[in-house]
Amino acid sequence: MTESLVSETAERLFADLATPKVVTAAEAGTWPEELWTAVTEAGFLDALGGEGSGALDSLGDAVDVLRAAGRHAVPLPIAETILARWLAGRAGLAPPDGPLALAVDGPEDRVELRRTGADWQLSGAARRVPWGRNARGVVVSTDAAVALVAPVSPEKPQGKNLAGEPRDDVTLDVRLEARSVADAPAGAGASAVYRLGALFRAAQMAGALEEALQLAVTYAGDRVQFGRPIGKFQAIQQQLAIAAEQVAAAGVAVASAVAAAGAGDLAFAAASAKLRVGEAAGKVCDIVHQVHGAIGFTHEHRLHQLTRRLWSWRDEFGVESAWALELGRLMASQGADGIWPFLAQR
């Protein structure tokens, strides 16, 4: 596989600026301003295209950025902001600069936009919104409409995920002027946006998985017990081989979803990718921690910056079982003899 230019640029930027120290500080509550500025200036936030952009032509670039971000446990709402900027831009709304939050009407949250005379009434709530407290605006996605909402104050107490990333509950009861609301662009209703979110999390996870495996392989080569590196023992080799298989499957699932979305079949592919990568995350975290032994369970070691994110991200934008249920119903509706023809086209 050839590495894209975007991928290389992102990798270099994150390696320089998203150091374990910066990640630790962010988890303690310090917004990583220098990193955010660099991400903004590199143009990553418009990786999917901003104002006036077309469908999903540059999905691969966005996924490359997020995969690199996952590799470095980047503690920023890059996925959310890319998605929010793309959606608002396509709807003809001009989002503010800075980090954005996303509220999607769907399986996790209920948000509703109702017309009241010349204005709109937004009602509902979004739970566990990434960096809700830092967001300069909230982009709301329903099946029919997109709305741009001013920053909202999160409910107290503010929350966080297992990786110490801000996750804030917000109530969305606001009257909006007509100029803040637009029709949902073709192919960008809430269900598509939610799926893109799932694919973005899968991309972040694919990156974090690569790095977690690399850490474990390196550690197995360095750590000596019984007179040799533990990586020389078959018991360790076989476990790391299983982890490598899962990491490879995760990478292929994400890359294939990008290709499928380009061919106009995002729904199936994003669901499959999130499910497959989420499953890989559980297995790989188990193995890389076992290989690292006690040092991997310390706060001092960097491994947890990746594994705590993997445990968090696999639960966001749909857990494996939720996507499995949806895919299963879809396949059941094809009829037993329709399963293969359906798959062979994908």
Binding site: V217, A220, G221, G231, K232, Q234, I236, Q237, Q238, L240, A241, I242, A244, E245, A248, A249, V252, A253, A255, S256, F268, A269, A271, S272, A273, L275, R276, E279, E320, S321, W323, A324, L325, E326, L327, G328, R329, L330, M331, A332, S333, G335, A336, D337, I339, W340, L343, A344, R346
Partner: protein
């Protein structure tokens, strides 16, 4: 390569009887294309392509399974060719095949145990070849013991270079390990499971079907990308090992899960497609992770790829 992929995959998932011709088409043909003489290509390839000539592979021996380099079957130089002696086991479809691509020692392993091995096209109807089927646990006759007792091999049946057998065999592995047959062995059971649970399955059954679908989609994308690499002349042995091990685990998991989730009706009586397909899958599952490289050997290859050995 990709054309073959499409055709064979469709046959496999339809449950078509493909075994007899499988090895010649997947492996022996490409081997002769790569290492064979012009004479060998002209003699065998048209017959393989038209489905008139079946091959099997003589690799494992009674004392050599995963440790292939330890084989003892040997070919000695004689006037006009070689004389072959030894014994192969677990040779699938030898009793139905015309030829066996057989790996044997042509010179002793002095220091380098991978040296001194050679591949031959052995005519299974030749004098001195004895084929004895070995019934498997399902009661089927698929694999065999093949004994070579002073079998004469004409010089022109040597494949590639004398002594280069190990390198040549290794180059076949990506063909052998990356195809759809490594993850669709129990696909028919998944289809019968879907038929049994119907259009409105209960949530647990639906979840299992959905999860298997996502796994199958991913495996297929991995396998197709390897087919693309093979087409481009690359030798993706590590990637192939990954796909085979993941694929085998997938095809073994299908019977283990659907037996718990499908409504189970008749037991023992005939005419129940689900139960029949399930029984077939359960009985054959142990072979998936043995044939074509055990999972332990595959994981060893992957560990080497990771730089651990």
């Amino acid at each position: 390569m990709l054309e073959r992929y499409v055709a064979t995959e469709e046959m496999l998932v339809a449950g078509a009887p493909v075994a007899a011709h499988w090895i010649a088409d997947r492996q022996s043909g490409p081997l002769l294309l790569r290492f064979g003489t012009e004479e060998q290509r002209l003699e065998f390839l048209p017959r393989i392509a038209s489905g008139e000539c079946y091959f099997c592979i003589g690799m494992s021996e009674p004392d050599s399974g995963s440790d292939l380099a330890s084989i003892r079957t040997r070919a000695e130089k004689v006037e006009g060719g070689f004389r072959l002696n030894g014994r192969k086991v677990w040779t699938s479809h030898a009793h139905r095949s015309d030829y066996a691509i057989t790996i044997c020692r042509t010179s002793p392993a002095d220091g380098d145990r991978h040296a001194g091995l050679s591949q031959f096209i052995v005519d299974l109807k030749a004098k001195g070849v004895t084929i004895r089927p070995i019934p498997n646990l399902a009661g089927n006759l698929d694999f065999n013991e093949v004994t070579f007792d002073d079998v004469f091999l004409p010089e022109n049946r040597l494949v590639g270079k004398e002594g280069a057998g190990w390198q040549q065999v290794t180059s076949e592995l990506a063909f052998e390990r990356s195809g759809p047959e490594r993850f669709v062995s129990t696909f028919r059971l998944l289809v019968e499971f879907a038929r049994r649970i119907g259009a409105n399955p209960d949530p647990r059954a639906a979840e299992a079907l959905g999860r298997f679908t996502a796994h199958l989609w991913t495996l297929r994308r991995m396998s197709l990308s390897i087919a693309g690499m093979l087409q481009a002349g690359e030798m993706p042995n590590l990637e192939a090992a990954l796909v085979k091990d993941l694929g085998n685990a997938f095809e073994r998991e299908i019977p283990e899960l659907v037996r718990l989730l499908a409504p189970r009706g008749s037991r023992g009586g005939g005419n129940d497609r689900f139960e029949e397909t399930l029984a077939e899958a359960v009985l054959h599952a142990p072979s998936f992770t043995l044939r074509g490289g055990t999972r332990e050997i595959l994981r060893g290859i992957i560990a080497r790829g990771l730089g651990l050995r």
